[in-house]
């Protein structure tokens, strides 16, 4: 049940090592603080889950941010009504977002191609608009759903758990989750989700999903009922998105509508594409790069630019600062958009694909340039 092929096991160990040592190797990049590393892990989870749908079945959903939002709200409500422990919050988030995914997926998957994409977009927009308007009692609208000192927290009350004055913080089996605790929690969830994604990729179920992407007609005439397969993939990826949403709320106990915005759905598509659709590592790489650049670029201000260009003559310096300042800080989205375009134009297979191509080129060159190479292990 937990067995993996040797290659997959190596990947899992490599990933676990990379993720758990983040605080060390991210330090030189100035990104080794828990808040950011949590984001890395959470968005990687989101992208890995999204990839199970988009990468394997080829169905491009433009509404997955809705599930993140649903997961977030569920987690905060679990904090408010039941307990500050994160386990119930995460479990409920997965269940509720899974139920939503079941219903939304059931309808959307009756269509394919762009019609499917638009249907998911329409459903997600409905969730977003409703969260903004009628459902304010549940979502607290524009302000976002926050914890309050006088929340009932029935389970906590039953066990006599109190949080003193001030706002309570999430706990894991009684221990408070702060800073690095939060990061390691998300890191371990990421490793687990990666493992699940490996299992799916290698399984007959995953092969069936790939068959659907490759040739749906043949799948049907081969005796597969393709609808439940795609629905299962949709629900699994929706549940993982919900889990990512719950983790956002666990690490920072609030939930807002902006997490459901359709551009957020677009972002996860970009992460997956940037890294490489349908590959195991691709979505993680994509999510990390985008969140890293977002963090770096949006933090740069004109002072930093002035310093950076200070070696230039005055006139040119101010020109450079004016131009580059449009790409950083508030203008980071411009850089993001450009990245989007450049990647799709020049690297349609994503970074993982590009790396493979480069590696393949080196492999072919080696025998010609150097002495006899060491025998390559077969894939």
């Amino acid at each position: 049940m937990f067995s993996l092929s040797r290659k997959d096991l190596t990947s899992l160990v490599v990933l676990a090592a990379i993720v758990l040592t983040m605080p060390i190797w991210l330090a030189p990049f100035g990104a080794a603080y828990p808040g950011l590393m949590q984001k890395f892990a959470i968005y990687a989870i989101f992208a890995v889950g999204f990839n199970i749908l988009f990468g394997l079945t080829g169905y491009l959903s433009f509404g997955h941010a809705a599930f993140v939002g649903i997961g977030s709200y569920t987690a905060v409500w679990s904090f408010k009504l039941l307990t500050m422990d994160i386990l119930p919050a995460m479990i409920f988030a997965v269940i509720i977002s899974g139920l939503f995914a079941l219903v939304i997926g059931y309808f959307c998957l009756r269509r394919t191609g762009i019609y499917f994409s638009i249907l998911t977009l329409a459903f997600a927009q409905m969730c977003y608009s409703l969260a903004y308007s009628v459902l304010t009692p549940l979502t607290n609208g524009e302000t976002g759903l926050l914890l309050a000192g006088n929340d009932p927290r029935y389970i906590d009350k039953m066990f006599g758990v109190t949080y003193g004055s001030g706002l309570p913080t999430p706990t894991f089996l009684g221990t408070t989750l702060g800073g690095y605790g939060g990061f390691y929690l998300t890191a371990i969830v990421l490793i687990v989700i990666f493992f699940i994604s490996q299992k799916i990729f290698a399984s007959p179920f995953g092969m069936a999903l790939r068959g659907i992407k490759s040739n749906q007609t043949r799948m049907m005439y081969t005796g597969f009922n393709t609808k439940p397969y795609t629905l299962a993939a949709f629900v699994v990826s929706g549940m993982i998105a919900g889990l990512a949403g719950a983790l956002l709320s666990v690490t920072d106990p609030l939930a807002g509508t902006e997490r459901m915005r359709w551009t957020e759905s677009g972002n996860v598509v970009l992460m997956t594409i940037l890294g490489g659709v349908g590959t195991l590592f691709g979505p993680i790489v994509g999510a990390w790069l985008i969140k890293y650049f977002e963090n770096i670029f949006s933090a740069i201000n004109s002072n930093m630019l002035n310093n950076f260009f200070s070696f230039l003559p005055d006139g040119i310096q101010s020109l450079m600062v004016t131009v580059t300042s449009k790409f950083v800080g508030e203008g980071w989205h411009l850089t993001l958009g450009l990245m989007f375009v450049l990647i799709v134009v020049f690297l349609p297979g994503g970074l993982v694909e590009g790396a493979k191509r480069v590696a393949a080129r080196f492999d072919r060159k080696k025998p010609r340039t150097g002495p006899a190479p060491a025998p390559q292990p077969a894939e």
């Binding site: 459903f123 409905m126 409703l130 970009l270 203008g331 134009v345």
Partner: protein, 342 residues
Amino acid sequence: MTAMLAQLLNGLDKGGAYALIALGLTLVFGTLGVVNFAHGALFMLGCFCAVTFRYLITIETVTVDPTKLTPWGSPVEVRTPLVQNWFGDFGAVMVDYSVPISLILAVPTMLAIGIAMERGLIKHFYKRTHAEQILVTFGLAIVLQEVVKAFFGANPYPQPIPTDLRSAADIGILLGLEPRTLTYPWWRIIYLAFSLFVIGGVFAFLQFTTFGMVVRAGMADRETVGLMGIDIDRRFTIVFGLAAVVAGVAGVMYTPLLPPNYHLGMDFLVLSFVVVVVGGMGSLPGAVVAGFLLGILQSIASMTEIKSLIPGIDQVIIYLVAVIILLVLPRGLMGRRGVMES
């Protein structure tokens, strides 16, 4: 009943905007086979053509009039737009009518933008998958809106309706109602008429010119037209330019109704895609019908009577209708079989 009628009218101009955007989207999709997520951005760029034009003609000269004094005793500064200095009263009219006049700026600008976009980026994506087309145009849309944001900032730019057109037409009288029971602002009437005019123009262009014939043939069967040795590439560029112009002028004229900001394009994009899909991918009449239909439905759903009946319906009506139509009519209202289903 009157309220219903008033909402119906209100829906018409919004429907006109939807129809114009959806028309261009469909044209591009039908002929070039490209799903253009940057089309909303073209609408937004059109809006900012109006903003730019108004900015340019209201550049003022400041003269000091020593004969008049302010309450503080300093001479009054008189600001006059340059155009008024140059053209006198005609200049003042120009400033007043800046929105419709800016069409003169918008048409060539949008044409140039459209052609540049098609030549520079879109044409490389004819043979790529729809997912890739969506992504690259989505990225382009972000770039365009951020560029606009870099120049114009994040605040909306309200544009004035020309003074003569600020009143409302009392169309209730035409229907035999009491005066002032059913009025409809002149500008909305103009917008509706304008959108019908543009829609009619596009259809006439496609129906009665050789160029249009080729385009229609291309929408029906792209490969065959390509095989007939017709220079498809050049025509594709023009079609894209045309779609950009249609979206642009739709934006220009819409500015007095909705102050444009940089993310207006994204807001309209989602809606106009829903419109296109409801109408049926690749069907021009479908796009127009669905545009007006959804505009009117949205407007009716925002009536208080209906909102109190079904809370929140005004927020979701469009999406709800889209979902229902797509589930009942797989290819939208007027879609053809086999389009975009692979």
